[in-house]
Structure formats: structure tokens, C-alpha cells
């Protein structure tokens, strides 16, 4: 038995908002793979929970009229990986969430839970940062659209107001059209592990495929929350696809990152692999875009 004070099951988004407003101390539980573990460990023992697990309307991926990819917040990682829209437009997100935990965790864990947790190591988060994703929040006052970079406030804290829940994550068309991306999770094991560092890159090449038209790079575990490396991005835009440009890009990421020493890895090691992963992930994204890197 879990040490739960009370469980309120929401049948719809409106129902969830009502329950969250009536029980301000209650925590939202989606898939439960984080919340129930925290209850078991005692950190959330005695909590009141609002379960949104039953709101099937929040599951699935679709293309909106303006071409934005809409991912319902309760869509599980395995369903994201298998989704044809994701595979066609932003396959890197499916690959990134396929590195989370193990198969059973990927069947229950949701992208909404992964991001609302506010942890820097979330494998979906760095890729969503790199795609300039928009978080859709629904609350008593209606809907809000918040860029994911503003949604993360500090370690473990996201911009979720009283009575609100996350209902979707949207990737605008201009963010993904013409881009290809690659994610690398550096961890100690192939499965059931938390990233030592995660690096997600996407790139858009010039028409002749010889130069970088645009590039975005984001990290997990390189700071208290997932973070972009804007200085490296800006310096690389317009540059030709050469080994030298890639090396400089990789070195430049350190100007924006602030990893820490932890029992998992030292700051120095994280800085080292941040550079190595930047180069490898960009090279792979270039290859996926049909580009070639010159000496």
C-alpha cells in the first residue's frame, strides 16, 4: 500500500482543474513513475494526489492546422518513439525518449511528467529545448503557451500555477521544417540509468548543403536546468561545414554551460564530454541532413 492521503481521479481536463482548485495541496500524478517512487521513498508520503491518468484526450501526437506538431502531455515515451509524425518530422525526439529507463518505464512514463518534474537530466527536455518547443498549460483562467526555456524556472521548479496542468507540448513548424537532429545520452549503462550528460543538436543547412544556415544545441545535466548554448549557436551560423568550424562550435559551448561536481561525475569531466558530444552530435545531424564536413 502506498502512503497516500487521498486520491482524486480526473475524468477530463476541466475536472482536473476543478479538483486541483478544490485541493490546492494535491500533487498531479500522470504515469506515476516519479510520483509513486517519491511516495514510496517518503518524500511525498501522505500526499493528496490528483490522477490525470484517465484523461485519454491528452494522449497522442497530431499535426495542427498551422503545421505545428502537437504531443498530448500524457503520451508515453514508447508511443512517441513509434509515432509516424514524430518519426517523419522530429525523429530525434523519439530516439531521445527511447533512452529513458527501461521498456516498462517507457510504457508508463509521459512527456508531460518528464518536463513538469523540472529535472535537468530529463532525456526529453534537452531535445525540446533544442526544438524551441512550446508548453501548453490549461488552468482556471484558460490556456497559456509558454516557451519551454521559460517554463523551467529553477531545479525542480516549473512555471505551473495553482490549478494548472500541462496539456500539450507543441513544436512550431518553423522550428522543425528543414532541420535534422541528433541526441546523445552519455550514461554509465545502456539502460536503467540517468544521463551523466545529455546533448541534443539540430541543424539546418544552406541550399547547397555546404554551410550552416541555423544550428541549435541544448544540454541536460550541464546546469541546474536544461540549457541551450546560444554563444556557440550564434558563432556557427553562416559558417562552412569544416572540421575547424565544428571544433570551434564544440569549444564555444562551454561559454554557456555551468555543470557541477556531483557523485555521478565531476564538473571537469562533464565539461570535457560536453565538447566531445557537441562535435559528434552536430556531425551526425549534418550527415542526416545530407551534408559533408570538409577538412
Amino acid at each position: 500500500m502506498y502512503d497516500i492521503k487521498a486520491l482524486y481521479e480526473a475524468a477530463s481536463v476541466e475536472d482536473a482543474i476543478r479538483l486541483l482548485t478544490e485541493h490546492p495541496a494535491a500533487k498531479i500524478i500522470a504515469g506515476g513513475s516519479d510520483v509513486l517512487v517519491k511516495v514510496r521513498e517518503g518524500r511525498l508520503a501522505g500526499a493528496e494526489l490528483v490522477s490525470i491518468q484517465g484523461i485519454d484526450a491528452l494522449r497522442g501526437v497530431c499535426l495542427e492546422e498551422d503545421g505545428a506538431i502537437r504531443i498530448g502531455s500524457l503520451t508515453s515515451f514508447s508511443h512517441i518513439t513509434r509515432d509516424p509524425v514524430i518519426q517523419d518530422k522530429i525523429n530525434v525526439l523519439g530516439q531521445a525518449v527511447d533512452t529513458i529507463g527501461g521498456p516498462q518505464i517507457r510504457n508508463i512514463g509521459t512527456i508531460g511528467g518528464n518536463t513538469c518534474n523540472g529535472v535537468t537530466s530529463a532525456d526529453s527536455a534537452s531535445t525540446l529545448f533544442a526544438w524551441d518547443a512550446i508548453v501548453e498549460l490549461t488552468g482556471p483562467e484558460g490556456k497559456r503557451q509558454v516557451p519551454i526555456q521559460d517554463f523551467y524556472l529553477k531545479a525542480g521548479v516549473v512555471d505551473l500555477r495553482p490549478g494548472e496542468l500541462q496539456t500539450a507540448i507543441r513544436i512550431p513548424r518553423k522550428s522543425y521544417e528543414g532541420y535534422k537532429g541528433h541526441y546523445i545520452k552519455y550514461a554509465m549503462r545502456e539502460a536503467m540509468d540517468i544521463a551523466t550528460l545529455g546533448c541534443s543538436v539540430n541543424v539546418k543547412l544552406s541550399l547547397d548543403k555546404r554551410a550552416i544556415d541555423d544550428v541549435r544545441i541544448a544540454y541536460g545535466v550541464a546546469g541546474p536546468i536544461p540549457a541551450r548554448a546560444p554563444l556557440a549557436e550564434q558563432a556557427a551560423i553562416g559558417k562552412p561545414l569544416s572540421t575547424q568550424v565544428l571544433d570551434q562550435f564544440a569549444q564555444d559551448v562551454l561559454k554557456s554551460l555551468n555543470p557541477r561536481d556531483s557523485w555521478r561525475a565531476s564538473k571537469a569531466f562533464r565539461q570535457h564530454i560536453a565538447v566531445v558530444l557537441a562535435k559528434r552530435a552536430l556531425a551526425e545531424a549534418v550527415r542526416l541532413s545530407g551534408g559533408e564536413i570538409y577538412e
Partner: protein, 168 residues
Amino acid sequence: MSKQYKLVTCTINGKLMEKMVDVRASLTDMLRDDFRLTSVKKGCEVGECGACNVIIDGECFNSCIYLAVWAEGKNILTLEGLANPDGTLSDIQQAFIDEAAVQCGFCTPGFIMSAVEILETGRELSDEEIRKRLSGHLCRCTGYENIFRAVKKTMLRRLGKEKEAEAV
């Protein structure tokens, strides 16, 4: 606060069941305590070891981090649902015995349910893919090789590749 219960109706191993469950119960608690399905093991109870793995609507879930009330309307399969009506074992269970993929046996039901999910795809998976799909389970006895072999052999046999299965 007074205890909170909810009536849950679901299909377990092919039979429609109805039960009043405590909302604090995990699906592991419900399957073991209310239905005596003790193949569902209590291991880590935080979703890391896979000993409590069951199939819900065709997908594998660690039942220890799944609330019992979420089972409403679901179709649940546990290891007890695999054997044939006459009591003989299913091919995958027999393969675990033949390949000595069982030592203490605690992880076995969870592993077999993941194997069932693999076999139900009806596809021939690469070695790497089989290993990845089994990676949500911990076994402290066998070293995994015999488990991997039992799953691969059964997959090949179901695809009619008896000769390849023998060579595994």
C-alpha cells in the same frame, strides 16, 4: 482520513473480474492479495527490477508503480495466464526450463512477460533489440545469457526457423 475504496472492473487472464480496492493499493498489491496471482513478485517496488512486470492491453508495465484503480477497464495478463488449459506450459515457459534460464526464479515471471511482448510482435528481432527489450529486468543469478537464448530460440521457433533455433 477514512479509508477510500473504489470498485474496479477489469479482465485478468481472460476472466472478467470485479473487486473493491483500496485506492492506495498498487496493481501488484491487488494481483497478489486479492487474486493470489503470486507470480507477480515484489522486488524493488520502485520500478527498477521488473519482477512485478505484467502485460496491460498488450504492453508491459511494472505493476508496483501502477495504481490498482488504474486497472479499470483494462485487460491484464500475468504469468498464470500463459499455461495451456490442460496445465502444460507455454513454449516460452518451457524454453526457460530447457535453457536453464531459471535459477532462484524470482525474476523469471517478469522476464517471461517481457518475452511474451517480444514474441507477440511476430517479428524477428536482432540480438541487440532483444537485449534492449529485456533491459528493464534484473537477474542476479543467471548472467542473462541463458535468458536471452530462451527468448531468441522461442522467437525463431515461432517463425518456423527450427534449424536456426537449434544453432542459438
